[in-house]
Amino acid sequence: MGNRTPLFDAHRAAGAKIVDFGGWDMPLHYGSQLEEHHAVRRDAGVFDVSHMTVIDVSGPAAVSFLRHCLANDVARLDEKGRALYAVLLNASAGIVDDLIVYRRNGDFRLVVNAGTREAVLANINSHAAAFDVSVVHRGELAMLAVQGPGAVERVVGICGLTGIDALAPFSMLERDDWMIARTGYTGEDGVELILPDDAIAGVWSDLLAAGVAPAGLAARDTLRLEAGLNLYGQDMDAKTHPLEANLGWTIAWRPETRDFVGREALTAIREAGSRWKLTGVVLEGRGIMRHGYRVITEAGEGTVTSGIFSPTLGYSVALARVPRAAAGACEVEIRGKHWSARLVRPPFVRHGVRVHK
């Protein structure tokens, strides 16, 4: 038996197929991952993401500590309630994890992946010794992602909290021990709720009663890939750096005096020129691209890192790591046959509609 969230019994009651996900017993789907995907694109779905890791960083040196740890700059969070997507690097600029950092009242909250919990805690604790900060893993908190064009309206209806619908993307508000953030991993509008373990079951059943579809890991994967969002462990890991993971935009190079972990190595990579890039692929035929498939371009060969059948578009889309100069037409090898495909800039779908060229 793996770790279980407070909603494990509720998932079973909703008909979930449970699978092991990084040591957690989590719902893969509740019958049809396609229907769950469409529910999120067209109306609203709810994911139990309580397996994710919530870490609070506080203390007088919290700002300087996070400016040292993260490749993005928390100084950009100019007021409380703002959030930032960032990567945590090792000294050789390999990606330890990607995360969202929220600025609270004087302290910060990080939400990181479940599978990287130990590596992230070890990494930031190793840097924390030199700073006057406290790093606390908040294992007693649960988390729901309510996503889709109808998500905010449903959450407002259930919580009765004012101000949620006025939240800008990548911002949050806190009431008592709840945090409600306008963030997500689907390319749709929606919120993520971080709340005490004992409050989550009631919110879950209220959301389902309000017509929000329970959605599992399988739909979460097709939604995030359509939205062009990387999955840690698949599209990037400790052996890849941000410039070959389509995450150059998350590096705050300025001010040049900010000495973040991995900066020296990443600067050398940037000056020499990254050999690879991560980009999107669209298949023109009817096959489906999968992780590990070969991509043949005029600039050399690459590899599919994540590939799916896109439920919204009706054809296969993928992320692939290819030579930096690669562009335009390419081929993907599927079971020995070469299929015509095109390299495109992700995302593929945003707010329910096609956005790729």
């Binding site: 049809s32 991952q33 396609l34 399988a218 009817r286 489906i288 799916i308 059948f309 439920p311 079971r335």
Partner: protein
């Protein structure tokens, strides 16, 4: 629970075979298999006229989750393929033993049919594969 119609024969790799007129065998995948695959979104069918050997890959079924080979349960010549699946692959999920058939083989060797599993043995096989 999955259904296992008694009039069919089954391969351990989860294909079913139905004997029709004059040694023609219809082939599809079992209810258990379609359930394990999840939503089917693409089916790659063999060519009519193609010769296949028992146990050889003859088609591919792709669900949102994974690609799986479909093996010919008997040897012979492909005499028909279900082109409905090209436009409506979800039929495999909705009606695995009916409209969701994949192809028909003109069988060369009746003994190969006898080597396939009956419904009860196949049901036990599925049970033993479950985690």
């Amino acid at each position: 629970m999955s259904e296992f119609p008694a009039e069919l024969r089954y391969a351990p790799s989860h294909e079913w075979a139905r004997v029709e007129d004059e040694g023609v065998v219809a082939v599809g995948i079992s209810d258990h298999a379609q359930d394990a695959l999840g939503d089917v979104v693409y089916v790659e069918l063999p060519e009519v006229g193609q010769d296949v050997e028992a146990g050889e890959e003859a088609a591919v079924v792709e669900s949102v989750k994974a690609a799986s080979d479909i093996y010919a349960p008997v040897s012979g010549t492909i005499v028909a393929v279900n082109t409905l699946l090209e436009d409506a692959p979800e039929t495999v999920n909705q009606d695995p033993y009916g409209d969701g058939w994949f192809f028909r083989i003109q069988s060369r060797d009746d003994a190969e049919l006898d080597a396939l599993l009956d419904a009860q043995t196949y049901a036990e096989h599925c049970e033993s594969e479950s985690p």
